[in-house]
């Protein structure tokens, strides 16, 4: 029997929530049975929809829990009344309602974006009908000379073979080899194709519908290729592609299948699949091809039976790995299973492949972090609601008193205020939905990675999630006011109303102890001794606002520092042009004739942006080997990039074969690691070392130069031993061109046109070094933009809340202000009077927020960046200043307005 997709969990929970305990089990069972049946007949999508509809339809009188029944009945009648009073209240206090609605809407738009983002991530790979049974093999590899082990999304071909032969209880195994990237030629049309070498079983594991061709045999024979619909159309236009020949490199391949384009939400993306047997033929002379340690370019996917015994399979994998590791000296590899649905949102894995990442990936920590930040912003808006409605609500005590006097229960008053908050938040949802539409493209275009990862298109699930979210926000916002008002006793509430009329001051209901308790939370303060306690919510709000702003400021400064970081060499105006497989000589010649190009060099990789190349080196002690990062560079590279040589000189030889490269220039750390006279680099010149990696074995090399330490990795890596070797024509090349030009676009166009002479198929891919560095740290820039945006929202929301409170305070204290004024108080002293409380509050918030942010950065974030600049006071105070200025403007303007009113207008009635 095939395992089925599960019905939506929330619908199940919903049934379990409303249904009587005695009925719930068989009801859910029945729904499940129908669901399973519908999955067979109509497919999982329809089945889920039907399940949801049925779950709602079973919401009947006889299934619903009894206790709610009576309340529900009364509440349904009262609901109309609640909505009416809520509506009136919203309309009466237009200013406060709009502050609440706008604040909630702004904060909720962040929530909506996050929900859309999460839902998109969750929908990854769900198109696979057997998705729950698909697993990918993770390699946990420990290399000699490296600390700890790394987890890799890739594994060796041999792993796949061995699992197929030896491991029992596995239904299917498919190997995807991920370095297929060639130019396809059909007639005179040429197109670069990217994809995988794959086995026929891939079609039995994944749901990749074949439009033409037989999925069972399409990938069986060597030189077979399966194209996606789009790739086929690009190559063959509207002609039928099946059975046609494609020339890749010098070999002819036959198109044996056309498959539907991959869904956007698939972590595997390709344009073509070529039979793995082709790769076997091409690599039949390569001994490393099937080695246990050649684990960087293959993914192995398993399909397990529905009744799979995971621990048993795991122990078989362990045994298998143990057996293979026995023959290995330098590398120990463990195998693990990773469920398909945990690939996109899950543990961080090294991509392993040389050709780039295996697909989109978001670590759960980032999602939790974003969720936490969004929650803080939303809570801030909820605090506004709570503060304002309790402060304003003093005027609603009469209504509550009356409701209670004619028989309303506590729960009903609670319910009423919750309904009001939910109504308001639904109204806010409407507004925030438009904000969502507005912000969506901004978020998507923040980085190309996000663009490739999510679409944020509206789906029915999303709409439901939005509404549920909005109701939840309403409850969050309305909970405290609801508790507050429901605890007021009728007598006190009504008595207080008259007391208020007598004194003319703001009503202070002495309702019950819990109301007293709640009043501690609110902004309104009467007795100076209790002022701070009562302003807890506002303090929390401002603390978070300050943390946000300060984080943005510090993050921004640190990010700019990283970009302007002295890497130990010069990157300015250097254009890196990857040769994409061509020999660099022709282009070099062309480029040297362009006057704006002042210098040229060749290198294997670009350092300092996260790329790495390397191998193991030994000095005199044959037991002591260390991992050394390398780059192959030509004789012009060092002067062009301004590397500082401490001893020795540049490369002398110009080797033409890889084996001829016998010279090496090392850095200071290298000398330190092998203890080759670190004090006097001069003595290191002429020393011999041996170098081995996956291509070279024990090549003897001579140190000809020592350069100053520079940042080979990104700035979050410590500087380790580095060695430069001569570039040879056997290496792939990147041309580094130093440009000096007053008209950059024109120069670039010129360079691009020379590229076109060499390669008509592939687009010109040059990038300035500085831009490459910026791209390497884009995740930080994205993070800073997001946090910056959130802090903008946080300060707006907090300011709106403050505005509401100030308007309310000046309104209720208008008479006091005016009398003071009549008695001779100046405007300045009045502003001081009204803003004093706020200043204390802000001081408390700053005292909490600033040290917290500082310690967080110094002890948590910046410890990952060993070369960072310490956090400066300016960055810390910037946020505080921003908040004080905004708050000062709000308080000042409102108080001035109150202070400027003509006393006779206000006091005329007295």
């Amino acid at each position: 029997m095939k395992e089925q997709p599960q019905p939506p969990a929330w619908a199940q929970r919903f049934v379990a929530w409303y249904c009587k305990p005695s009925l719930v089990e068989d009801l859910l069972g029945d729904l499940n049975e129908y669901f399973e049946r519908n999955v067979q007949a109509l497919g999982p999508r329809r089945a889920k929809l039907i399940y949801i509809i049925d779950a709602l339809k079973f919401f009947r009188i006889y299934t619903v829990r009894k206790p709610t029944l009576a309340n529900l009945f009364i509440n349904r009648i009262m609901l109309g009344s609640y909505i009416k009073t809520s509506g009136r209240n919203v309309m009466r206090n237009k200013l406060f309602s709009s502050i609440n609605i706008v604040g909630l809407a702004i904060s909720m738009s962040v929530g909506l974006l996050l929900i859309a983002f999460l839902l998109d991530l969750r929908s990854y790979d769900r198109f696979n009908q057997q998705g729950e049974r698909i697993y990918r093999i993770t390699n946990v590899a420990t290399f000699k000379g490296e600390q700890g082990s790394g987890k890799y999304a890739s594994t060796s071909l041999k792993t796949g073979r061995l699992i197929r032969e030896k491991v029992t209880g596995v239904e299917e195994v498919a190997i995807l080899r991920n370095d297929f990237s060639q130019d396809a030629q059909v007639g005179d049309r040429a197109l670069p194709l990217k994809g995988f070498w794959a086995e026929p079983s891939v079609f039995r594991i994944f749901t990749f519908p074949m439009l033409e061709g037989n999925p069972e045999t399409a990938l069986r024979d060597p030189y077979s290729i399966v194209l996606t619909e789009t790739a086929a159309r690009k190559l063959f236009g509207h002609e039928s592609a099946l059975g046609r020949a494609i020339k890749l490199d010098t070999l002819d391949y036959q198109v044996t299948g056309i498959m539907k384009d991959l869904p956007f939400f698939s972590h595997i993306q390709f344009e073509a699949l070529v039979s793995l047997s082709t790769a076997e033929q091409l690599n039949r002379h390569d001994q490393n091809f099937e080695k246990w340690t050649s684990m960087f370019s293959n993914s192995v996917y398993l399909l397990l039976p529905p009744t799979a015994d995971l621990p048993a399979i795991q122990s078989q994998l362990d045994a298998l790995a143990r057996e293979e590791n026995r023959a290995e000296e330098n590398t120990k590899i463990q195998l693990e299973l990773l469920p398909l649905y945990d690939i996109v949102v899950g543990e961080n894995l090294h991509s392993g492949s040389m050709s780039g990442s295996v697909g989109p990936h978001v670590p759960p920590l980032v999602l939790w972090l974003l969720g936490g930040l969004a929650l803080v912003v939303i809570l801030s808006a909820c605090f506004n609601y709570t503060n304002l409605s309790i402060a304003r609500g003093m005027r609603r005590f009469k209504e509550v008193g009356l409701r209670k006097a004619i028989g309303a229960e506590k729960s009903q008053v609670r319910y009423q205020f919750l309904v009001e908050a939910i109504l308001l938040s639904l109204a806010a949802l409407f507004l925030s939905f438009f904000l969502f539409l507005l912000l969506r493209p901004q978020l998507i275009h923040l980085a190309p990675e996000i663009q490739r990862m999510v679409k944020l298109d509206l789906t029915p699930t999303m709409v439901v999630a939005f509404v549920v979210f909005s109701v939840a926000v309403g409850i969050m916002a309305g909970l405290v006011p609801a508790l507050f008002f429901s605890n007021a006793s009728a007598i006190q509430a009504l008595k207080n109303e008259s007391a208020r009329n007598r004194t003319g001051g703001p009503a202070v209901p002495r309702a019950s102890w819990s109301v007293q308790g709640l009043r501690y939370l609110t902004l309104r303060a009467t007795a100076p001794t209790q002022r701070l306690g009562r302003r807890a919510l506002a303090v929390i709000q401002y603390t978070f606002t300050l943390i946000f702003i300060t984080t943005t400021a510090i993050g921004y400064v640190q990010y700019k520092n990283i970009l302007a970081f002295d890497l130990g060499f010069n990157t300015e105006n250097i254009l890196n042009i990857p040769m994409q497989g061509h020999k660099p000589d022709a282009l070099l010649k062309e480029l040297s004739e362009i006057p704006e190009v002042t210098g040229l060099s060749r290198s294997l990789i670009i350092t300092s942006v996260g790329n790495a190349w390397g191998g193991y080196m030994k000095y005199q002690d044959s037991q002591d080997s260390a991992l050394v990062m390398t780059n192959h560079v030509d004789e012009n590279y060092l002067p062009l990039h301004g590397y500082q040589l401490l001893a020795g000189g540049n490369f002398v030889t110009r080797p033409t074969t890889a084996d001829g490269a016998r010279e090496v220039i090392v850095n200071q750390q290298f000398l330190k690691r092998f203890n080759i006279s670190p004090r006097d680099p001069q003595k290191a010149i002429g020393q011999e070392v041996t170098f081995s990696n996956f291509k070279v074995h024990g090549r003897r090399m001579t140190i000809v130069g020592v350069m100053k330490d520079f940042h080979y990795g990104k700035v979050d890596n410590l500087i380790g031993p580095v060695a430069f070797m001569p570039w040879t024509p056997e290496d792939p090349a990147i041309i580094n061109a130093k440009i000096k030009s007053t008209d950059l676009p024109a120069t670039l166009a010129k360079i691009e046109s020379t590229w076109k002479k060499i390669d008509q198929v592939h687009p010109f891919e040059a990038e300035f070094y500085d831009e490459a560095i910026e791209a390497a740290y884009r995740e930080f820039s994205v993070l800073i933009k997001i946090i910056g945006f959130l802090s903008f929202l946080a300060i707006s929301i907090a300011s709106m809340g403050l505005f509401g409170m100030v308007v309310f305070t000046t309104e209720t204290r208008l008479k006091e202000i005016v009398i003071r004024k009549v008695m001779g108080a100046s405007s300045g002293s009045l502003i001081y009077l009204l803003s004093r409380g706020f200043l204390v509050l802000l001081a408390v918030a700053a005292l909490i927020a600033l040290p917290v942010t500082y310690l967080f950065f110094e002890n948590v974030v910046l410890t990952h960046f060993p070369y960072h600049r310490p956090v400066q006071l300016v960055e810390l105070l910037f946020g505080l200043l921003a908040v004080v200025v905004v708050a000062g403007l709000i308080i000042g303007s409102q108080t001035l307005k109150a202070a400027r009113t003509n006393p006779t207008e206000v006091l005329r009635g007295e």
Binding site: E25, G29, N32, F58, T63
Partner: protein, 110 residues
Amino acid sequence: MKGTNLGEFEELVLLTVAALLEEAYSVAICDELSAHTGRTVKLGVVHAVLNRLEEKGLLKSELGEATKARGGKRKRFYQLTAAGKAALVHAKSLRDQLWDRIPSLVWKKI
């Protein structure tokens, strides 16, 4: 009086429960009814009727064994009670009596 008279659908459900013997649970009943009446019978309706009949005391139910299907949820098996049986017999005899009252001559003319 409520509880003594059976509705048409109630009667069908009761009969199906009786016919299915040990296998009488909601989905099976639903399928059986659909198969025999030729109309699509909604699970929700059957569920509601079964519930009502149990309230009336015409049916009794107990949960069966948990199986792998149905998401591990147990089935609720229904059985006729004595009152249920009596109600069915009563309904049948009432019909029979009425049938018997139609003279065959009249019957043929229609």
